[in-house]
Amino acid sequence: MSSTFYNEILTEHNIRPFHKHPMEGANFQLEGVNPSCGDDIILSLKVNDDGVIEDGAYVGDGCAISQASADMMLDLVIGKTKDQARRLADIFLRMIKGEVTEEEKQELQEASVLQDVSHMPARVKCAVLGWHTMEEILNGKNDMEA
């Protein structure tokens, strides 16, 4: 695989992320860690009574793939309902397993640049960290209640 995998979309989300900052007013927060490589993010979401993700942000430290993937995910899910976000997470995780259709991939927009991770077993955990953390929040896990 060529190192052009680190294309402009990926590197921009890594070095100039839109959503990497502390967030006020979140009602869900969860830390996600890859112990083997040290990738670490804390994901915050603000979900309203209608189940719509009104806002989201993350802070963390890790490789470009883990950080950019979380940033692209938030681009996608802010403004969506929890069910829509769950569906996108399902598509993303299947894309990383190499089990996705072209139409589904389109729905992921920029996050689809991470499709090549399906051929990079060592980096799968990096790419899915943000998405897994969001799924756990959507399934009710919340550090803010701990």
Binding site: M1, S2, S3, F5, Y6, E8, T11, E12, N14, I15, C37, G38, D39, D61, G62, C63, A64, I65, M120, A122, R123, C126
Partner: protein, 418 residues
């Protein structure tokens, strides 16, 4: 060893490095293997010794009374003598075979530390220890009530005998330090450390995992009480390690593992254990690994460890010259390549080590990224993880050029400065 390997190793000339590279089947010019502190590649003579054992000499060593088993025993005991000679031990009985340096250090911790330390005693280690020379002592401290104390590095990643002297007291019973840091490349003056330990009535344990493959190590000169190293970092097979220990100490220590081939006699409720070293080698040995380690040390002896060191020092200086000037790169440790012993651990501003390692891998350059099993040291250095290139004598300037070229382009590839 095959004649060709002997001849080429004995006539090793760094100016004609290709000849020695050709003895390593896995090494070719397409892949730059620069992760030698993790494990080294193996020469033909070692690989052949492993196969040769099973083709000609395989039986359970030390047990059978037939010729084949005697040959297996002779292979193992011959390798034990080779190891003893290589590190300057007084006798082969002071050499215990284990799986690796980690197991060797655990043996010392469990058999010596757990039995001879008590509440209020002190164990002194350094912040630059690999986890394998840190976690066993945490366990000993936890179970005996002994206090675990650390010698920190100075701001340049160095530890001097004075800094050890400042931590060791008359309560100290064990001083255990690495001889050569797997992150900083720094060489501790373990001979001076041993004198300090002994003056305070403590024993001195040396983690030689990184030193034995790269510099001349003589346990009699250092006067350490134990020394641990792994076979696979010195061109030998994985799964075989060594614990050297002084006879008086080994004889006083209880066995670590219990079972077959470590007893003189067994009754229903007791046993009389064998003499050293067999007391510490319960169960069937990794005979082919031990014999492979012997072959690896024969190979190193033919080349000469001092020649290996000189070549590695020259390569380190070259790598330093190429990598150090690259903008945004920071090399950990002393600001002098002669103090790095082939180990260059660095960060690149804004580029995570896992991305560095991945991008280098796309160019078939193998380096290590992460915490190098030394998380407390990383924390003291103020970094979370780093990238490490580690050299062996068979590496080339061309490989270092490839690494430096890629590092020079790394930030641009990651979207900076464009």
């Amino acid at each position: 060893m095959t004649d060709k390997n002997i001849e080429i190793a004995a006539g090793y000339d760094p100016a004609d490095n290709d000849k020695i590279r050709a003895l390593f089947p896995l090494i070719d010019d397409s892949t730059a293997y620069l992760d030698n502190a993790a494990t080294t590649q193996k020469p033909e003579c070692v690989i052949r010794a492993l196969a040769g054992y099973y083709e000609h000499d395989n039986a359970n060593p030390l047990r059978g009374l037939y010729k084949l088993s005697v040959r297996a025993t002779e292979g193992v005991e011959g390798a034990r003598q080779t190891v003893a000679d290589f590190i300057g031990a007084r006798e082969a009985a002071e050499i215990i075979f284990t799986r690796n340096a980690t197991e060797s250090l655990n043996l010392a911790a469990y058999s010596y530390g757990m039995n001879f330390l008590k509440e209020g005693d002190e164990i002194v280690i350094t912040i630059m220890e690999h986890h394998s020379n840190m976690l066993p002592w945490q366990q000993v401290a936890k179970h005996t009530g002994a206090v675990l104390k650390y010698v920190d590095t100075d701001e340049n990643g160095r530890i001097t005998p004075e800094m050890v002297e400042a931590v060791v007291t008359d309560k100290t019973k064990i001083v255990s330090t690495t001889q050569l840091s797997n992150v900083l490349g720094w060489e501790n003056d373990v001979k001076a450390f041993a004198q300090i330990a002994h003056r305070h009535g403590a024993i001195m344990i040396v983690d030689g995992a990184q030193s034995v493959p790269h510099i001349r190590v003589d346990v009699s000169d250092i006067d350490c009480d134990f020394l641990a190293f792994s076979g696979h970092k010195i061109y030998g097979p994985m799964g075989v390690g060594v614990l050297y220990g002084k006879r008086e100490l080994l004889e006083a220590m209880p066995p670590f593992l219990f079972g077959g081939e470590m007893i003189d006699s067994v009754t229903r409720f007791g046993a009389k254990y064998s003499e050293i070293p067999h007391k510490f080698e319960a169960g069937t040995l990794n005979a082919e690994g031990i014999i492979g380690l012997g072959a690896a040390l024969d190979f190193v002896n033919q080349i000469g460890i001092d020649k290996i060191r000189a070549r590695e020092d020259a390569l380190t200086a070259y790598a330093w010259e190429k990598i150090k000037p690259i903008p945004h790169i920071r090399i950990l440790g002393a600001d002098d390549p002669s103090l790095h012993h082939g180990i260059i651990t660095f960060t690149i501003d804004g580029v995570h080590p896992h991305d560095v390692s991945y991008i280098l891998d796309t160019k078939d350059i193998c380096v290590r990224a992460g915490h190098h099993c030394a998380q407390p040291l990383m924390k003291q250095c103020g970094v979370f993880s780093t990238t490490r290139a580690s050299l062996a004598f068979y590496n080339t300037k061309e490989e270092i050029d490839r690494l430096a070229d890629e590092l020079g382009q790394m930030r641009a590839q990651m979207g900076y400065d464009r």
